[in-house]
C-alpha cells in the first residue's frame, strides 16, 4: 500500500503504540477462588463457589448490623460462616475455615490473635485457621455509606487444596450518619435505557438549537412542517433509504453500548457489574438489536438507495408499502425494547428458545415477541417490493444475466428472507398467544414441544444469517471490481454461487440442533449439506481474488474494507466449517468458539461489507466526498481492534468458557482442575478483549463523525467518483427525484449472453399477446 501522506503514517504509529501498550500492560491479578493472600496464616485453598456455605457478619452481641452507623463509633463484629465441608467438625482435621473481610470505609482492627490485617484487608491468622467464627472491631467513618464485603472458605481440612473446598461471599451496606434514607435501588437496565433515550432527546434538542441559532428568522413551524412531513410521509426510495440509515446507525450504537456493558461484566472473573438477570437481557437485546435493528435496516438502506438506481427504475414498484416496511421498524423496535424501561427486558436470547420464551417471568419477553411480529411484517413487505421490482422493472436491455451483482445479492437475500420469515412469524404469534391468552403451544404440561420452536425458528434463522451476509457479498463484488478497474471475474459463476447459497440455505438448518438429540441419520445429512455451503462461498472468494489478480487495484477506504472483509470473512468461514462436523459441534456447542465464529461472519462479514458500502456509495447518496484520511484511520484502528476482540474468543471457547453465562470463575493454579472453572489465562484474555472492544466501539465513532462532517463540509462529488459503470453512476450525485428522467437502456453488457433456451420458452409462455390486458389497462 502506498503511504500517501504523513497522516496515514501517524495514524499507524498511534495504533502501533496503543497495541504495544496493551501487550505490556501489567498482568491481570484476579481473585480466582475465594481467598488467596500470601501470608502463611491465610488459607490458599481453591475450591468452588457454593451456596451451601452461608457467610454472615453480626454485632458481637448477636444482633444484626445497624442500618445506619454513628460516625466514628466502634462496633464489635462477629464474623462467621456455616455449612460446607467444615461443618463436619472432625477434630483431627486442620485448617478448616478462613475468611477475608474488606470495608470500603472506616477501619478494621483485630482484637485477638486469630485475625490480622493484610494489605488493608482483615483476614485470619494461623492461629485462627480452625475456626468458623472470629471477632474484630470496625470503626465507622464520619460519613458516606460503607460496604462490608466478606469472603469465607469452608475447607475439608485435609491440609491441601482440593475441589471439595467451598467458598462464598456476602456484602453488607451500612448507611452513613443521620440515617440517609435507604434509597430505592435503581435498576441498572432502566438507568441505561433511560440514559440512551435522554441522550437521544438531548441530541434532538441540541440539533434544534443549532438550527435556531443559525437562522432564528426561518425557525418557524411554517418551515418546519413541510420538512418533518416530508420525512414522515415520503415514499421516495431515496428518502426511505436515508431513514433506514439513520435508524440503523442509531441501533448499531445501542447494540454497541450493550456489547460494552457485556464486556465490562466479563472483564474480570466473578464480576458483579451486571446481575444475572440484567446480563441475560443484555445479550438478548444485543443480539436482537444488532441483527434485526442494525444489520438488516442498514442493508435495507442500501437496497433502497441503490437497487432502483442499478436496474434503471424510477422507484420501487410499491412505494407506499416500502414506506410501511420502514415505519414498522421503529415501532417494532420500541416494543422490543420496552421491557427494558421496567427492568424486565426479554431474557431469552435472540433465538427465543422454548420453553423459556413462553414461561419466563420477565414480561419484556411478551413485548419482544410483539416487536418481532412487526419486524416480520416489515420484512414481508420489503420482500414483495424488492422481488417484484427486480423481476419486472429492469431497464431495457438488462436481462437477468446483465444485472449488477449487488442487485443479484439483494434479490437472493430478499428471496430467502421472504420465503422463510412467515414461519418465524407464526412461531412468534404462537408464543405471543402463549404468553397472553395462555394457549399451550409451548407448554410442556399440555404436550407442547419446545423443539417445534427450534424447527420453526431455525428454518428461518439459518437463511436469516445468509440474508445479512449475502448483500455484503454483493457490495464486495462491486467494490472489488471497481477498485480493480475491471469487470468481475466469473460473473456467471458468481450468480450461480449466490443462487446456490440461496438454495442450500434451506436444507441445512438442522446443524443448529445437532445437540438436540435428533436422529443420527438426519444429523449426518445436515452435516453434508452444511459442508456443501463452503463450495459456492469458496467460488466467490476465489473469484474476488482472481478479479484483483487480473486488475490493478486502487486503494481507497472502501477497497481496504473489502480486503479486510476477505480476510475476516474467510476466517469466519473456516471456523464455520468446524461446526457441521457432528462430534466437533457437540464439543464446541454454546462456547465462546461459537461467539467468535459468528462475530467473524457477522461483524467481519456483514458489518465490514456495510462499512465498505458506506464509503463506496456515500458520494452518490450525499453528493459529497468522504474524508479518506479519517476513513483510513477508521479502518486501521477498527480492523486491528476488531481482531483483538474476537480472535481470542476462539481460545476462550476451547478453554471451555460458556456462552450466555453472566460470569466465569478461574482456577487458583494449573493443577487443580475443577469443573466449570477456567485456567488463569482466561481472565487475562477477557480483559484484553474488553479493552479491544472499547477501542473497536470508539473507532466507529470516527466513521459517524466522518459521515456527518463530510455531509456538511465535504468536497462536492462528481457523478462517478470511482469509475464504476453500473447505472447508479449515470445519474448525478445526489440523484434527482424520480431517480431517472429517462429510463436508460443497457447496451453491450455481456453481449455473449443471448437469451438462453429456457428464457425464450418462458418469454413465450408468460408474455401476454398484444391486445390483451396489456392494452386494455392502458386506456
Amino acid at each position: 500500500m502506498q503511504l500517501r501522506n504523513v497522516w496515514t503514517v501517524r495514524a499507524m504509529v498511534i495504533v502501533a503504540v496503543l497495541f504495544a501498550a496493551l501487550m505490556f500492560s501489567p498482568e491481570h491479578e484476579a481473585r480466582p477462588s475465594g481467598i488467596s493472600s500470601v501470608d502463611s496464616g491465610c488459607s490458599c485453598h481453591s475450591g468452588t463457589p457454593s451456596s451451601q456455605v452461608v457467610a454472615s457478619i453480626t454485632l458481637a452481641n448477636g444482633s444484626a448490623l445497624p442500618e445506619n452507623y454513628e460516625p466514628g463509633a466502634t462496633y464489635a463484629l462477629l464474623i462467621s460462616f456455616s455449612g460446607g465441608p467444615a461443618e463436619d467438625n472432625i477434630p483431627e482435621r486442620v485448617n478448616t475455615g478462613g475468611f477475608n473481610l474488606v470495608a470500603s470505609k472506616g477501619t478494621l482492627t483485630p482484637i485477638d490473635n486469630t485475625t490480622q490485617i493484610l494489605a488493608g484487608e482483615l483476614t485470619h491468622t494461623d492461629a485462627g485457621n480452625d475456626q468458623q467464627a472470629w471477632n474484630a472491631d470496625w470503626t465507622a467513618p464520619t460519613s458516606g455509606s460503607t460496604v462490608l464485603r466478606l469472603m469465607v472458605n469452608s475447607v475439608n481440612g485435609d491440609n491441601s487444596a482440593s475441589s471439595d473446598d467451598q467458598w462464598n461471599t456476602v456484602s453488607y451496606t451500612v448507611s452513613g450518619a443521620g440515617g440517609e434514607a435507604p434509597t430505592m435501588q435503581a435498576n441498572g437496565l432502566t438507568v441505561l435505557f433511560s440514559g440512551i433515550l435522554l441522550t437521544a432527546i438531548l441530541f434532538a434538542l441540541a440539533l434544534t438549537y443549532v438550527f435556531y441559532v443559525r437562522d432564528p428568522e426561518s425557525f418557524s413551524w411554517k418551515r418546519f412542517q413541510p420538512w418533518i412531513s416530508h420525512w414522515l410521509t415520503s415514499t421516495d426510495h431515496k428518502s426511505v433509504g436515508t431513514l433506514y440509515f439513520v435508524s440503523g446507525l442509531f441501533f448499531l450504537g445501542v447494540g454497541g453500548i450493550l456489547a460494552m456493558m457485556i464486556r465490562i461484566q466479563l472483564s474480570s472473573p466473578g464480576n458483579d457489574f451486571l446481575t444475572k438477570d440484567e446480563y441475560n437481557s443484555f445479550f438478548t437485546l444485543h443480539g436482537t438489536v444488532m441483527i434485526f435493528l442494525a444489520a438488516m435496516p442498514l442493508i435495507n438502506g442500501f437496497a433502497n438507495w441503490i437497487v432502483p438506481l442499478q436496474i434503471g427504475a424510477k422507484d420501487l414498484c410499491f412505494p407506499r408499502l416500502n414506506a410501511m416496511s420502514f415505519w414498522l421498524q421503529p415501532v417494532g423496535a420500541i416494543l422490543l425494547l420496552s421491557g427494558m424501561f421496567s427492568g424486565m427486558g426479554a431474557d431469552v436470547g435472540w433465538t427465543g428458545y422454548q420453553p423459556i420464551t413462553s414461561t419466563t417471568d420477565h414480561y419484556g419477553a411478551t413485548f419482544w415477541l410483539a416487536g418481532q411480529v412487526l419486524l416480520v411484517a416489515s420484512s414481508t413487505l420489503t420482500g414483495i417490493n424488492f422481488i417484484v421490482t427486480i423481476a419486472t422493472m429492469r431497464a431495457p436491455g438488462m436481462g437477468w444475466m446483465q444485472m449488477p451483482l449487488f442487485t443479484w445479492s439483494i434479490l437472493v437475500s430478499v428471496m430467502m428472507l421472504f420465503i422463510s420469515i412467515p414461519t418465524f412469524g407464526i412461531g412468534l404469534i404462537e408464543a405471543y398467544l402463549d404468553r397472553t391468552i395462555s394457549t399451550t403451544f409451548y407448554n410442556t404440561s399440555a404436550g407442547g414441544d419446545p423443539l417445534l420452536w427450534s424447527h420453526l425458528f431455525w428454518y428461518f434463522g439459518h437463511p436469516e444469517v445468509y440474508v445479512v451476509v449475502v448483500p455484503a457479498f454483493g457490495v464486495i463484488s462491486e467494490v472489488i471490481a471497481t477498485s480493480a478497474r475491471r469487470t468481475i471475474f466469473g460473473y456467471r459463476s458468481m450468480v450461480y454461487a449466490l443462487a446456490g447459497i440461496g438454495f442450500v440455505a434451506f436444507i441445512v438448518y438442522g446443524h443448529h440442533m445437532l445437540t438436540s438429540g435428533m436422529s443420527p441419520l438426519l444429523r449426518f445429512v445436515v452435516m453434508l449439506t452444511t459442508m456443501l455451503v463452503a463450495v459456492p462461498t469458496g467460488i466467490k472468494i476465489f473469484n474476488w481474488l482472481k478479479t484483483m489478480h487480473g486488475g490493478s487495484l486502487v486503494y481507497r477506504t472502501h477497497t481496504l474494507w473489502a480486503l479486510g472483509f476477505l480476510v475476516t470473512f474467510t476466517l469466519g468461514g473456516i471456523s464455520g466449517m468446524f461446526f457441521p462436523a457432528i462430534a466437533m459441534d457437540v464439543h464446541l456447542h454454546e462456547t465462546y468458539f461459537v461467539v467468535a465464529h459468528f462475530h467473524y461472519v457477522l461483524v467481519g462479514g456483514t458489518v465490514f461489507g456495510l462499512f465498505a458500502a458506506f464509503y463506496y456509495w456515500y458520494p452518490k447518496i450525499t453528493g459529497r466526498m468522504m474524508s479518506e484520511r479519517l476513513g483510513i484511520l477508521h479502518f486501521l484502528i477498527g480492523f486491528i481492534s476488531y481482531n483483538g476482540v474476537f480472535w481470542p474468543m476462539h481460545k476462550l471457547g476451547l478453554l471451555g468458557m460458556t456462552r450466555r453465562h453472566h460470569t466465569y470463575y478461574i482456577r487458583a493454579d494449573e493443577y487443580s482442575d475443577i469443573i466449570g472453572t477456567l485456567p488463569p489465562e482466561a481472565a487475562q484474555w477477557n480483559q484484553f478483549i474488553t479493552v479491544c472492544a472499547f477501542i473497536f466501539f470508539l473507532s466507529n465513532l470516527i466513521m459517524v463523525y466522518n459521515i456527518i462532517a463530510s455531509w456538511l463540509n465535504g468536497r462536492k462529488a462528481p457523478a462517478d467518483p470511482w469509475g464504476g459503470w453500473s447505472f447508479e453512476w449515470l445519474v448525478s450525485s445526489p440523484p434527482p427525484t424520480p431517480s431517472f428522467d429517462e429510463i436508460p437502456t443497457l447496451e453491450n453488457a455481456n453481449p455473449d449472453h443471448a437469451p438462453g433456451r429456457l428464457t425464450g420458452m418462458l418469454e413465450r409462455i408468460m408474455t401476454p399477446d398484444s391486445g390483451d390486458e396489456g392494452e386494455e389497462a392502458g386506456h
Binding site: 414498484c317 420500541i334 436481462g399 398467544l433 394457549t439 404436550g447 424520480p738 386506456h779
Partner: protein, 348 residues
C-alpha cells in the same frame, strides 16, 4: 412534478404515477404497535399457565390501536379512490419471464407465496402435535391419570359431539351443518367475485348499468364472506338452537384453550367409561388456524367494503377492472386455504 410534492392527502392525481407522500404507512404501523402492546397488557398468562389474568383497563386502548390501523387504511384509500386505471405500470419489455405483465399482479402472486408459508407453518404445528400426542380415543379403556394430555380433535365436538345432542337431520350431525354451509358460502363467493370481474370487463353495457351489476356481485361476495364469519362466531360462542335443530357451541361443549380437565365420556353400556383429560393443545391449534383463516376473511371483508363503495360510485369499468382481479386472486387463495383447513379440523 412540484405539485406532487404538496402534502394534500385527499384524492390523488394518478396520471403522474403513484403518490409520493402518504401518512398511511406511519399511522398503520403505530396502530399495530399500540394494539399489540395493550393487548399484551390486558391479557397475561397466569402462573399456573392454565388461564390468564385479565385487566380491563388496557383493552379499550388495544381497540384504539385497531381504530388507528383503520384510520390509516382510510387515509390510504382516500388516495386510491381516484384511481381510474390510468396508471397501471407493466413490467418492462425483456424482463423475462414477466415482460409486459402488470406489476401489481406479479406483486399479488408474490404476496400469496408468503401466505402459503403462513398456512404451511400452521399445518406444520398441527401435524407435529396431531401425530405425536396420543389421541384420546386410543386411551379409551385404559386407566389414565387425571389431567393427562391427549388429543381430542375439533371434529369430535363438531361431529360426534353433535350426535350426543339431538340430531334432527339424520344423515349428518347437526353441528357439522354450519361448517358445511360455510364451505359452500366461500366457494360461491369465489364465483361471484369472478362474475364481478367479468361484468366489469363487459363493453356491451352502459356504464351506469354495468356499475350497478358490478356492485351487486361485489356486494354478494361481501355478504357471503360476512355470513361465513358470523356463522363461525356462532359456532364458537353461541351455538345454533333453532327449533328441533340443535348444534351446541364449541364453548358450551367445553372445547377451550384452558380446559385442562375435560371429562371425556366414551363407549356405551358395559364398555362406557370416563376420564379427565387435558385437551388444551388440540383447542389451541384449532383456534389459531381457523382464527388465522378468519382474520384473512375479515381482511377480505374490509377490502370488499371499499370495493363495493367504489363500484357504487362507478369506479370500475373495462379500463379499470384489474383491482377486482387482484382481489380475486387473494380471495381464491383464502377459499383454497379453507378447503385445506376444513377437512383437517372439521372432518378428520
Amino acid at each position: 412534478m412540484s405539485d406532487d410534492h404538496g402534502y394534500h392527502h385527499g384524492p390523488h392525481e394518478w396520471s403522474h404515477g403513484a403518490p409520493h407522500n402518504s401518512w398511511a404507512p406511519i399511522i398503520i404501523s403505530i396502530g399495530s404497535g399500540v394494539f399489540l402492546f395493550f393487548f399484551a397488557k390486558a391479557f397475561t398468562m397466569n402462573e399456573g399457565m392454565n388461564g390468564y389474568i385479565y385487566d380491563s383497563a388496557p383493552l379499550p386502548l388495544a381497540i384504539a390501536g385497531l381504530a388507528i390501523i383503520f384510520a390509516g387504511l382510510i387515509s390510504w384509500w382516500k388516495q386510491d379512490f381516484s384511481f381510474d386505471g390510468s396508471y397501471e405500470p407493466q413490467a418492462t419489455h425483456g424482463s423475462t419471464p414477466f415482460s409486459n405483465v402488470d406489476i401489481r399482479k406479479v406483486g399479488m402472486w408474490v404476496f400469496l407465496m408468503s401466505e402459503m408459508m403462513i398456512f404451511s407453518s400452521l399445518f406444520a404445528t398441527y401435524i407435529r402435535y396431531r401425530t405425536s400426542i396420543d389421541s384420546c380415543y386410543s386411551l379409551e379403556g385404559t386407566v389414565v391419570e387425571p389431567g393427562t394430555a391427549c388429543w381430542l380433535p375439533a371434529s369430535y365436538f363438531i361431529a360426534k359431539g353433535g350426535e350426543h345432542a339431538h340430531s334432527t337431520l339424520g344423515f349428518m350431525p347437526d353441528a357439522l351443518v354450519p361448517g358445511a354451509i360455510n364451505t359452500f358460502a366461500l366457494i360461491i363467493s369465489s364465483y361471484t367475485i369472478v362474475m364481478a370481474l367479468k361484468t366489469a370487463k363487459r363493453t356491451d353495457l352502459e356504464h351506469a348499468e354495468r356499475s350497478i351489476k358490478v356492485r351487486n356481485y361485489l356486494g354478494a361476495t361481501f355478504c357471503l364472506a360476512t355470513l361465513f364469519l358470523v356463522m363461525k362466531m356462532i359456532e364458537w360462542f353461541i351455538g345454533f338452537h333453532i327449533g328441533p335443530f340443535e348444534a351446541p357451541s364449541l364453548l358450551s361443549d367445553q372445547f377451550t384453550i384452558h380446559n385442562d380437565a375435560y371429562t371425556y365420556n366414551y363407549g356405551h353400556g358395559a364398555e362406557a367409561g370416563a376420564m379427565t383429560v387435558d385437551i388444551r393443545m388440540a383447542a389451541s391449534i384449532f383456534y389459531l388456524t381457523t382464527g388465522t383463516h378468519g382474520v384473512h376473511v375479515f381482511a377480505g371483508i374490509v377490502g370488499l367494503g371499499y370495493m363495493v363503495v367504489k363500484a357504487h360510485k362507478g369506479g370500475y369499468g373495462p379500463g379499470n377492472s384489474v383491482s377486482i382481479e387482484y382481489f380475486g386472486l387473494y380471495w381464491h387463495f383464502v377459499d383454497l386455504a379453507w378447503v385445506a383447513v376444513f377437512p383437517a379440523f372439521y372432518l378428520y
